[in-house]
């Protein structure tokens, strides 16, 4: 019986990441199972930072790269989810300008997001909507490193430790970047009109 592991990926309950990774080493064809398990997670993360159209392409590229570099995956250093999101983060880094444009566009308006091509637009609850331009502005103002950690947490739903694995940085560094990033975002939300 499939059930959610609480953060988006479906855990089949039959196989852990470590045993799936081991199975892939034995039989590379099993990598499509990795794809099926984590596609939505990776796509959602990239679509959040760039747009759906880019994610349609770059999510597939993430898995292609992951497959080509599967030997570098070390189960002792963490699970598949942070590993894949780390690769996706590196790919997003090639699109920093598009990402910044997106946040600036969201900061200007909570209206139709024409950057998103066929996706049309997505809007949130009314209460959240009023604050969105501010939040987007604050996001645009973060450093790239701060954005990586806070979005791996918010969109990728990674823990401190997993963010460290995804980015290859120490636990303490994750904490300090995260504090700075969250502090700036909170300040933007709490700002008086």
């Amino acid at each position: 019986m499939a059930h959610h592991d609480g953060r988006g990926a479906v855990n089949t309950g039959r196989e852990t990441d470590a045993s799936l990774a081991a199975a892939v080493r034995e039989d590379p064809d099993r990598f499509t199972d990795v794809y099926d398990r984590y596609f939505d997670v990776v796509h959602g993360y990239i679509a959040g930072r760039l747009d759906t159209q880019a994610a349609d392409d770059l999510a597939a590229e993430t898995f292609t790269l992951a497959f080509l570099h599967r030997d570098r995956f070390d189960p002792a250093l963490g699970a598949l989810r942070p590993w894949l999101l780390g690769i996706a983060t590196n790919i997003i880094a090639r699109h920093r300008r598009a990402e910044a444009r997106r946040y600036r566009a969201l900061a200007r308006s909570a209206g139709p997001d024409v950057q998103d091509g066929h996706e049309s637009r997505v809007v949130a609850s009314v209460a959240a909507k009023d604050l969105q331009p501010r939040l987007a502005g604050a996001l645009a103002a973060l450093s790239a490193k701060e954005r990586d950690v806070v979005l791996l947490m918010a969109l990728g739903e990674l823990s401190h430790e997993e963010i460290g694995q995804a980015l290859g940085i120490p636990y303490g560094t994750v904490g300090s970047r995260l504090n700075r990033a969250r502090g700036k975002l909170r300040a933007a939300l709490e700002e008086e009109d």
């Binding site: 990598f31 596609f39 939505d40 959040g48 091509g117 066929h118 049309s120 997505v122 809007v123 969250r182």
Partner: protein, 361 residues
């Protein structure tokens, strides 16, 4: 409000359509089959599983439809059953070679215009809507010349005649609000998507730096390299194979078919190379004829199929106009249930000396 939830509200997007996932899995499987290929450029140009990509050609993405297009709903179990087959797949392609070889061979630009379904969605009101993208490529044959892509996402429209009737009964709304039950949505604050009948703006992009006019077998190709392509079918296959290290046997055949369609449709090759490409494809084991077929615009042609992923689970289908030898339509579909993963209908293709019209696709 908690800033992490607020971020999620701001940035959460609906999950990808099943067809996007299927297309990505197909791409991954191709990589798995051919081993570490030369690094693939990010951008895909064309639908149809033709895996066309090129440096500098950003975001003209026509990866997928969200299911079988309207026109094919009448045949839920796949493309129309083969009419009595008069010609083999190989004969269809050989005839196409002869016809295409008679076409004019050169102009300032190779121009090809197409339309394909890029999204399909249920509206929650008892009918489905689809969105198409139109695009035109102007591929320059002059060294150092600029090439262009002009593309436009059209508005959402009812998917089928039956859907259109229900849409009218619904008061012919011009937009639809979809609430997504998405595991990424925090409780009570779920993502809402608005689909509109309004078309998106026309997007124009130029490329051509360093003489690149497109891509062949995952690598950029320059106009000089295009002109140096052989007109001998076996040498042409070898030229494609050199770009695909590690590809052998039936996997190479599969990729030779895909890249053959790429040469015929999306690169400014001479009629002689186009004819040689069809002859190269005609010699591939695995090419099958479906007999006569009608495309989405009602044009009749001859259809051939070829395996698209190393198994028989996904097939390419190409409908060729026997009088010009040029493709009318391409698609990738799963024969088991008839699902069309993506489709491209060619609305115009040929040489032109016109200046690129960047105002419309």
């Amino acid at each position: 409000m908690d800033e992490l939830h607020a971020l999620k509200d701001l940035l959460a997007r609906p999950a990808a359509a099943q067809a996007v996932k299927d297309e990505g899995r197909h791409r991954l499987r191709n990589t798995m089959l051919r081993g570490p290929a030369p690094k693939r450029r990010r951008t895909r140009l064309f639908a149809g599983g033709l895996t066309v990509t090129a440096a500098g050609l950003a975001t003209v993405v026509a990866l997928v439809g969200g299911g079988s297009p309207a026109e094919r709903e009448a045949a839920p179990n796949g493309p129309p059953l083969p009419a009595p087959v008069l010609m083999s797949g190989s004969e269809v392609l050989t005839n196409a070679a002869t016809a295409v070889g008679r076409q004019p061979s050169e102009g300032a630009y190779w121009r090809i215009s197409s339309t394909g379904v890029v999204a399909r969605s249920a509206t929650g009101r008892g009918y489905d809507v689809v969105q198409k993208m139109k695009q035109t490529f102007w591929l320059s044959t002059s060294p150092g010349g600029k090439s262009w892509t002009v593309s436009q996402y059209l508005g959402f429209v009812p998917a089928t005649e039956a859907d259109a009737a229900k849409w009218r009964a619904d008061g012919s709304p011009e937009s639809w609000r979809l609430e997504h039950k998405d595991p990424r949505c925090p409780k009570g604050r779920c993502a809402v998507q608005i689909l509109s009948t309004k078309p998106q703006p026309v997007v124009t992009r130029a490329f051509g730096g360093k003489g690149v006019v497109g891509e062949l077998a995952g690598l950029p190709i320059t106009i000089a390299q295009v002109r140096a392509l052989p007109t001998d079918p076996a040498k042409l296959k070898a030229a494609i194979a050199r770009r695909l290290p590690g590809a052998k046997g039936r996997f190479l055949d599969m990729l030779a078919f895909e890249n053959g369609m790429q040469l015929i449709m999306n690169l400014p090759v001479s009629s002689g190379v186009r004819a040689a490409t069809y002859r190269m494809m005609a010699a591939l084991p695995g090419v099958r004829s479906l007999g006569e077929a009608t495309d989405q615009l009602g044009r009749k042609g001859h259809a051939v199929t070829m395996g698209a992923d190393g198994s028989k689970k996904v097939l390419h289908r190409v409908i060729i106009d026997p009088s010009t030898g040029l493709p009318l339509a391409t698609e990738m579909f799963t024969p088991a249930d008839g699902t069309v993963l993506n489709d491209t209908t060619v609305t115009a293709a040929g040489w032109t000396d016109d200046r690129p019209d960047l105002s419309r696709p």
